[in-house]
Amino acid sequence: MTVPTAPSLYQPTSLDDAVERLAVAGPDAAPIAGATWIMRSPSRGEPFHREYVSLARIEELRRIDDDGATLTIGAAVTHARLAQALAGHPALEALRQAAATSANPSVRRQATVGGNLCARDFAAADLAPALLSLSARVVLAGPAGITTTPLSGFLAGRDNLPPGTVLAHVSVPLAPVVSAHARLTLRRAGDYPVAIVSVAATLDDAGVVESATVAVGSVEPVARLWPELAAAMTGRPLDADEAVRTARELAGAFTPRTSVEADGWYRLQVLPTVVGRAVRALESHGRDRT
């Protein structure tokens, strides 16, 4: 009989060390950040990896930097810290809302940005659609060096990254947008959202949408953009009721997932309502701005 050995934990203080260790260990090892997803592996029926490489003590991954044009968020920044830091950035309200309302207060003090974007098979991640709507890019560190890629491509391909790849930072352009995040949960606080919608838009002086980005989470297995709805919203004033009607017409573009919390048809049914909430919040942010 083989006795499974308990997983080990390596705690480097530099990103290079973490990448190297992960690259050498290959598929036996994985990064660990806030651990709120990994610690529940047994309850999902997933075995632990043989080794975890902690990102928690790598100082550069815990920073949030603002150079006036871009906000660079370290992957090991927690939801709670991110929400606090974004209080001074009204344009990034979608991201602040996502970071401040996901899960519950203690999970938010532990769970990280990188963990939210890298947890495989986690469809209900709140930060993913929020960051998609804000056109975020991710900076990846790997054995071959640093690469930067749009978040949308990263999310679609994250299951096939070479061992040793660590999401190091997320960079969010500081554009003059208004943005909002809306989510629908069932039953009780702490449940995963059934559908999530994040919207960002630039408005002209008359309140007409010059450009819009809409992202949807939790409906399909991976969060994604909804370019057809964004195009329909462009060139006219913000109008939540109209957005709900259009969303209803266009919702056929999604192949919804079914899980224990909700059936696919239900997610599609509520999606237009969640769109309406997000656009209504945008209308009020737009009014505050003027």
Binding site: A6, P7, S8, L9, Q11, I32, G34, A35, T36, M39, R40, S43, F48, Y52, S54, A56, A80, A103, N104, P105, S106, V107, R109, Q110, A189, G190
Partner: protein
């Protein structure tokens, strides 16, 4: 790691939940572990300055850090903390399963926001599930404790 101010060495494997180490190895049974999944809040403790769900903290990640459990709230002579006393005075405790976690989450709230509104208390307790009380007495007790502390500060200042 430092537990309630004292250096402690533990032998558990690094991915063992901190809640289990506190209870089984260090015999600090105040911390409960009702769900083991981050949902119920009964295992809430402070790691450094953050109140977190200790069932989701691998003990290895707490290495070298300071951990505060519910046992640290009363003073060593056994006098209850003002928050604990307010819970008792308001008759807020029933079975008590949720209470250690409630106390730690509320301690976290009062450390960052000494004069919370009712809705701040509700928001702070989103991750603390109580099957017995319906919450309102707990919220009343927390607000009483906050007001008493505020009054004490004003008295000191005058």
């Amino acid at each position: 790691m430092f537990v309630n101010g004292e250096p402690r060495r533990v032998h558990a494997d690094p991915m063992t939940p901190l809640s289990g180490v506190l209870r089984e190895e260090l015999h600090l049974r105040g911390t409960k572990a009702a769900c083991g999944e981050g949902f119920c809040g009964s295992c809430t403790v402070f790691v450094d300055d953050d109140a977190v769900a200790s069932c989701l903290v691998p003990v290895g990640l707490a290495e070298g850090r300071s951990v505060r459990t519910v046992e640290s709230l009363a003073d060593p002579a056994g006098a209850l903390s003002p928050l604990q006393q307010a819970m008792k005075d308001n008759d807020a405790v029933q079975c008590g399963m949720c209470f250690p976690g409630m106390l730690m989450s509320l301690t976290a709230l009062l450390e960052t926001n000494p004069s919370p509104e009712r809705r701040d208390v509700h928001e702070a307790l989103v991750g603390n599930i109580c099957r017995c009380t319906g919450y309102e007495r707990i919220v009343d007790a927390a607000l009483t404790a906050a007001r008493a502390a505020g009054a004490a500060v004003e008295e000191d200042a005058s």
